[in-house]
Structures are given as structure tokens and as C-alpha cells.
Symmetry: C2
Subunit: 251 residues, 2 copies
Amino acid sequence: MKRIRLIVAYDGTDYCGWQIQDNAVTIEGELHHALCELLKEEIQIIGASRTDSGVHAMGNVAVFDTETKIPPEKIAIALNHYLPEDIRVQYSEEVSTDFHPRFCDSKKTYEYTILATAIAVPVWRRYSYHVYYELNLTKMREAAACFMGTHDFSAFCSAGSQVRSKVRTIEDIAVQEEPLFYGNGGKIIKLRVSGNGFLYNMVRIIAGTLIEVGMGKRTVEQVQDALENGKRQLAGPTAPPQGLMLLEIKY
Amino acid sequence: MKRIRLIVAYDGTDYCGWQIQDNAVTIEGELHHALCELLKEEIQIIGASRTDSGVHAMGNVAVFDTETKIPPEKIAIALNHYLPEDIRVQYSEEVSTDFHPRFCDSKKTYEYTILATAIAVPVWRRYSYHVYYELNLTKMREAAACFMGTHDFSAFCSAGSQVRSKVRTIEDIAVQEEPLFYGNGGKIIKLRVSGNGFLYNMVRIIAGTLIEVGMGKRTVEQVQDALENGKRQLAGPTAPPQGLMLLEIKY
């Protein structure tokens, strides 16, 4: 028996998130189906990040145990034949049987994309959150800096989370802008954040909060205050899923 | 009666191109329907570029004549209420009644996006052409330079074109690369080309030809030769539509 690690990329638009469900189409469900077809074994998948409905990934990680004779590095390409084109396994390799994608130390990187234009731009609609406002990037960057380091992120976690500790460490956070070639002077704004773990909806709440800072509806002091007080209602709204992408998980 | 100019952005994935047709869903067809709904007049649209099925736009241009009392600059936003979300009018303004989007001098800019990775990346699949090969950018740039200036582009035009002269001027052409955050060292390669006019499929044939140069299947001399001899079979294949985007038309 060997343990195989997969790096999985997907367009989350048409899926009810990662986690396998009886009556909904999910990434894990499709992957499970493809693996059973390919390997002719009943396998069980452990995913690193159970992304929500509509969230995308360049590099989510999953493992499974198998008796297959297919060389580990060939599984990625073989598996893609059984997957729909909005899911593509990027890489496969054998890992130690005690490797666990959630319990082993890792650094995860997420990106949240904001389309800040007067009018929405169709080719960006599946992969960004459109805001009509001109956002103040200087203020957004100032507020983003508050999140750096180790904090109790209770205010930046949706209800329903059952984790014991809400202390997490953010190792990098950056707000970058790219000009849009056309679009009345609009911009693409990307929030990139890396850390050792993220609470339920944490990146989307951070994004929703920073957008309000950029709009002038919320001050940097209020962000600091939410972080210190730990009350969910002191933070901003949860930004919608289509702007979020899990870029990478490093172990 | 006044003439209104629209700047139109769209995701061409689900359309049979720009031009109105009886039994197919097209961008012009949707725009025509929305304009008739909004203005309660029978109007006629003249488009600048009749993009093919699957091709996208950030800034195609269209005009129509109307008796409406709606202020010209408000038409864009009003019209968007009647359009599907994959078509968005970016801008509207009144222009002189003799302005014609195809017969007035213009500079058009197109971008062709190539995803050069070992395995396709789902979030890029609608807006790029995936090639498995590592492309030699130095060679591609060298070949791209052959197209600069005024040439007879007969070899870079699909059959079925009925234009009299196939002489066109390319004012700018550039091959740029962007790293992909994840994906086994893959890249996004963008070919951006501007000129006073383009023949049928011209940008896609230039892209298909340059890709073969990047793959080492075609030399810079062969590109030069195709341009000089004007025979379609001497140029490369027509690259697929989803990589093509009409960025802008300047008058």
C-alpha cells in the first residue's frame, strides 16, 4: 500500500465546493469517481482544504492510499482522462504513509481578486468580485498590515466553525494592483495572503473588511479593534466566493 | 435622430460570434434585442469587428441611430439591465452621424493568450489556448518582428475573405510572458498586436504560426517566406478562438 499526493487545480464555478456530498456535484466527488474508475479500487480521499462552493484552486492538495501498479508520477495524467475539464490534477507523487494534508505543518497561500471598475467586465466575472467604487489602496495596505503575525482571528471567522483555537499566523499579506487594459480606468486588485492555517471564511472576511476600508466605510483603527475584540460583527462582510483562489500549499 | 457609439465587452464562450443570425445566439443579436427593449424602437446596429464564435472582447465598438430622449451617456448602464451578464456595455456617447465604425480610420489592438504548461489549468481554459510545449520566446519575438509594418498578408488570411486588398499595417506587435503562480514552471504568453485593420482570422493565424516557431517546428525564415509568397499553406494553423480577445479600437 502506498500513499499518493495530488496537486489539484479547479474552476469552482460549477461545483458545490470540495467536500463530497450525496446530492451535489463536488470536486472531491468528481475526483473520487475518477480515481475509482482509474484504479478499480475503492479509495478514500483526504483533502487539505475543503474549499467552499464557487471557490477556485491552482494547487489544492489531496492524498489517498492505493495498491495500484501505476507509477505514482503517471497518475496525474491518467486521472485527467476521467475528469471534467474544469478539474485538472497538476502533479502526483508518492509520499510517506504518515503524511496527512491537514495535520502536517504547511504554508497556504490564497489570492482574492477584486475588479474595481465602473461597469463589470464579462471575462473577469467568474474569477473576481466586482465593486463599483474606486478603492483607496494606501488605506487597504495599511489595514492589511494589521493582520500580519500571530493573532486570535475570532472576528474573522464565520459561525459554524468548530475549531478549538482561533489563533493563526499570517506570514505574508499584500495588496497589489494591475491596470485593466480597457475599462474606464478601472483596476484589478489582488489580495494575496499566506499563513499556517485559516479559519472558516477567514480570507473572504479579511477581503470584505479591506474592501470597506478601501471604500472609506471603515477605518484602519476599526480593523485593529475587530482583531483585538474578537467579535465577528466588528469585522466586515464575507466577500463572495468567486473572487477567491487557493494558490498553493507548501509542506 | 442621433448616432450613439457603444463600447462593448463580452465573454464570447457561449456565443456564435458577433454577427446577428436567425438560429443562433450572437452578441449583436443580444444587443439588438436589449436595445429594442430599452428604446422601444426598431434599431439597426453597425459593429466594428465581427468577431468569430468563441472570441472575447474588452472593447468592441458598435453604433446605432435613435430618436431616444435618454441622455447618450446613460444608455450604457440602462442597456446592461437588459443584457446577460456575459455582455456588458462599458461606455456610450453621441457621435457625428457620419461616423462609421468600420470605414473610419482606426487602430485595433488584439491579444492572444497562450497557456504553456505541462497540464491545462482550469481557470485559464475559457480564455487561453493550452500548448504542452515549452515555447522559445526569443524565437517567437524574432518571428513576430517580421510582421511589423506594411505587408500583403494574403498568407495570413483564411479562405472566404472577400476584401479587395490584403495589404495591412501592423503598428505594434509584442510577445510577453507572465509567470503562473502554480503549475510546474508553466507560463502565460501574451501576443499583443495593433494595426489599422486585420483580415479574416489574421491574428489567429499569426498566433498559430508564432506558436509553431516557439515549438521549433517552423523557422523565422519560413515565416518571412510565407509573408513574401502570400500562400496560405506556407503559414501556420489558425489558433483556436478562445485565446483571442479584442482589447480596444481607437479612432
